[in-house]
Each structure stands twice: as structure tokens, then as C-alpha cells.
Symmetry: C2
Subunit: 257 residues, 2 copies
């Protein structure tokens, strides 16, 4: 029997980020019944996938891209032709390129969408007048220039935070063990939330027309759904996955849920 | 390479209920890093699984149990030895018995935990003094006596709502197209929320020591996490799935998250 296309999600980086992406896939689907929803397979195999930042900074030797490719191959076996992963640091070239190469070497045909490229593409297609794009992220993503390079490659102008704002506001808001979002996310502390808002204002003062919340934790601190100039990469990826599989079910932008 | 046990989740009934169960599995896990979390596979294949209530009430002929068994078999292929599904009506005997039989006939060994039995077991093990248990559910679940029979089978005393309360408060709070929880869940309307609270008070007045929120929508209307006498079946199932796979990672009851 011919089965319908399955949307694959490589989860576990972290576990809740995988759930958040699937939630957004459902949110962005035009469906009035269970049966009208799209089929999604989420494989949250976090014990198998080593820490992405630890690899990038040399603390561990094993490239997480091999394990990620293994999960993608399992999704292909289930019938997924396309997959996404809601982890910014897994898209840094030393990891992402190895993942794609490993899949090619194994003869796999599943297509892995690129979170960062899809986010920039989302800005270009939904806000075509925007030229100056400000990304916020972890210090690791910032230093590797992941968003900065992708923004430039798309012919747009990156508006970056100063190193001080990046380290003292954004990184601490995410990682501080006392008040950071990784330690306290339900709810996010007032202090972390204020720091993220200050960093957003900083990029706007520098001329950013939109701000990309380029780390899974950042959309928890502010509400990107209420402000079209705040871009949530997970929502962009959710929409891209639907576009590639069930474009007729993709909720029009701005339509009520 | 020996891979770790995977927890299987049969989602799509409905899509958000599958996410809610996985969220609770993660919440109930003792883990400080991504890698310490447990591996979970969620297959949300809602287009393949026909409406459970429609089958029970004779509106459709195809037993959803066949499709559910197919999803369970796919989870087994991935390496899951145990699975659960967060849908009360899929546990009514005409569906659940067929699902288990189909898996047996196919030579499958994956074990499907039973949401209702695990919920009653959860009450017995965590609140051993409780004798009088009041279940709230949809009208279909109420009429088939799913919870009532399971409570009796466990040697406890079921405290049931009157038919009027069941139909006019609980069922309408879930299904009313104007203010019901299926139509408005983010946030739940004040009216639906008040109706669910009135139904809970009704069961307490009748002598219920605990109230089971035996329909996926009901925990959205009240906050079972704040009241140990309100039982959320999805949380009971999440803990049962961990108990069967990673008992050393199961968060002690009452421990801070």
C-alpha cells in the first residue's frame, strides 16, 4: 500500500526543542480533525548524540554528525523523504557537512533541510523589504559566524551584537546557572527575559529591521508570535518542512490558528 | 552495536496529545544533560488512524486497532520494546483487544501498556489509602464503562457522575463548538474551565477521594500538577513507560523538576 509522506524530525538536541518543532509543525497545518493532520516521526535519541558545542570547542573527539546521520537514516527507513533538526549548533559546517556526507556515502536519499538557511529564506520571502538582519545566538554560534555568513550569502546585511552584549547579555541569559533560561525555563526568570529584550533593543539601535532568535532558548524569553520582526527559526523550519511535503496544508502567514 | 531501549509512543490521537505524553516522559526523567535523557520515538501518523469514537458508535466500519497495531510494529522495528498511546478511547476493548491480537498474530513482541490500567495502578501505588475514585471522561468512555470497570477490577469503588452532569457539564465542556476545550484550548475558556471544576466538585460531594481526568482535554482546564487528588492519566502512563525501561531515571514522586 502506498503510504503518505512522513515528515522526519531529528530530536534530542535538546529533547524539548524536538517537541517544540513538532508542535509548530502541527500549529502551521491547516487541519480540523486528527486525520487531516500531517504524519510526523520524531526520533529523540539524545543519549546517542554527543554535545555539539563540546565537539566544536574540541572537548570531545567524536563528531556528532555520524550519530545524527544514523537517526536520519532511521527516519528514511520509516518512510520520511525530508527531515529537519531544531538545533542551531548542529548546523555548524564541521558537523552539518559531515552529516550530509555520511548520508550520501550510505546511499541515503532523505533530504535534511538547513535550519539557518531556511530561517534566512523565511525572512526574505515573508519580509522582502528587509535588508538589515540581526541574529542573536549562543557564543559558539556567534564565534563561528553561522548566521552572519548565511545572512551575507543571501545578499542581506548582518547586524551583529558587540562582543560585550553577546557575552554579558545573550550568553548569560541562556547559560547562567542562577537565572539563565537553560536552568529556569518554566517560567523564564525576569532577569533573563530583560537581558534578552535589552539585546534585541541593542540590535535594533544598531539598525536591525528584524531580529533572529537563533538559539532554542531565546523564543522562551520573549514572544516572537506577537511581533513579526522577531524571527523564530523553529517556526521557519516547521513551515519549510510542510512546504516540502504538504504545501496545500501550510497555513497562510497571519491566518488565525 | 547494542543500542539502548527506546520508549515508543503511538501519537496522532490527537497530534497534541502525543506531544503532551512525550513532554511528560521528559519531565518525569532525572536528567541534567541532553545525553542523560531517555530515547523516545513518537510516530504521529494521524491520517492512518480512523476516529475511535466514530468506530465505537458505528459511524465507520474499519477498526482503528489495525492501524494502531501497524504503528506499534513500526516502533518495534526501530527498537522499542514497550509503547504507550495517550488516547482513552483507543483503550476501549473493541479497539484495544483487536490491537493486541493483531500484534500477537503478527509475531510482534512490543508490549503496549494500558493507559487506564496504569492510571488505576498509579492511584493504588501512590495513594494507597484511597478507596473511592471518581473518573471524568467523554460520554463515549462513560457509557462503555471503561474507567468504572477498571476501578472495580482493582478492588476500588467507582464514584460516577450523574448522567446529567456527564452530558451537560463534562461532555459539553469538551465538545461544545462555542466554548468547549476542543474548539478553544489556548487558553481554555472560563466557561469550560468552570464546568470541569463543577464536575470535579460534584464527584467530591458524592464521596470521591481522587478524580481522574480521563480525557486528554480535561487536564488543560484545571491544573492537576498542583493538586495530588487530581489524576492525569498521561502522567501516569509517562511514569509507567519509564518504570518499564529506565526505572533508575524515574523522578521520585514529589521531587522538584
Amino acid at each position: 500500500m502506498k503510504q503518505e509522506s512522513i515528515i522526519g524530525v531529528i530530536g534530542g538536541m535538546g529533547p524539548y526543542a524536538g517537541l517544540d518543532l513538532v508542535h509548530k509543525i502541527f500549529d502551521e497545518t491547516l487541519a480540523a480533525t486528527d486525520q487531516e493532520h500531517v504524519p510526523v516521526a520524531l526520533l529523540s535519541y539524545s543519549p546517542r548524540i554527543q554535545d555539539r558545542s563540546a565537539f566544536i570547542f574540541g572537548a570531545i573527539q567524536e563528531n556528532p554528525g555520524y550519530a545524527i546521520a544514523g537517526v536520519a537514516a532511521a527516519l528514511e527507513t520509516l518512510g520520511a523523504s525530508v527531515a529537519g533538526m531544531p538545533c542551531n549548533s548542529a548546523h555548524m559546517p564541521p558537523i552539518f557537512d559531515v552529516t550530509r556526507q555520511r548520508l550520501r556515502d550510505g546511499g541515503h536519499t532523505i533530504r535534511l533541510l538547513h535550519l539557518v538557511d531556511e530561517t534566512i529564506q523565511h525572512v526574505r520571502s515573508t519580509l522582502p523589504h528587509v535588508k538589515r538582519v540581526g541574529p542573536l545566538s549562543t557564543l559558539g554560534t556567534f564565534r563561528t559566524g553561522l548566521y552572519e555568513k548565511a545572512i551575507k550569502a543571501a545578499g542581506l546585511f548582518p547586524v551583529m551584537p558587540t562582543e560585550t552584549v553577546q557575552a554579558d547579555l545573550v550568553h548569560r541569559a541562556i547559560y547562567d546557572t542562577q537565572f539563565g533560561i537553560k536552568a529556569h525555563s518554566a517560567p523564564v526568570t525576569a532577569r533573563a527575559s530583560a537581558m534578552v529584550r535589552d539585546a534585541i533593543d541593542h540590535l535594533r539601535t544598531r539598525g536591525a529591521e528584524v531580529v533572529i532568535l537563533g538559539c532554542t532558548e531565546l523564543p522562551m524569553a520573549v514572544s516572537p508570535d506577537d511581533d513579526p520582526t522577531l524571527i523564530d527559526p523553529a517556526r521557519a523550519l516547521a513551515r519549510a518542512l510542510l512546504r516540502e511535503t504538504y504545501p496545500h496544508k501550510l497555513r497562510p502567514l497571519g491566518a488565525a490558528r
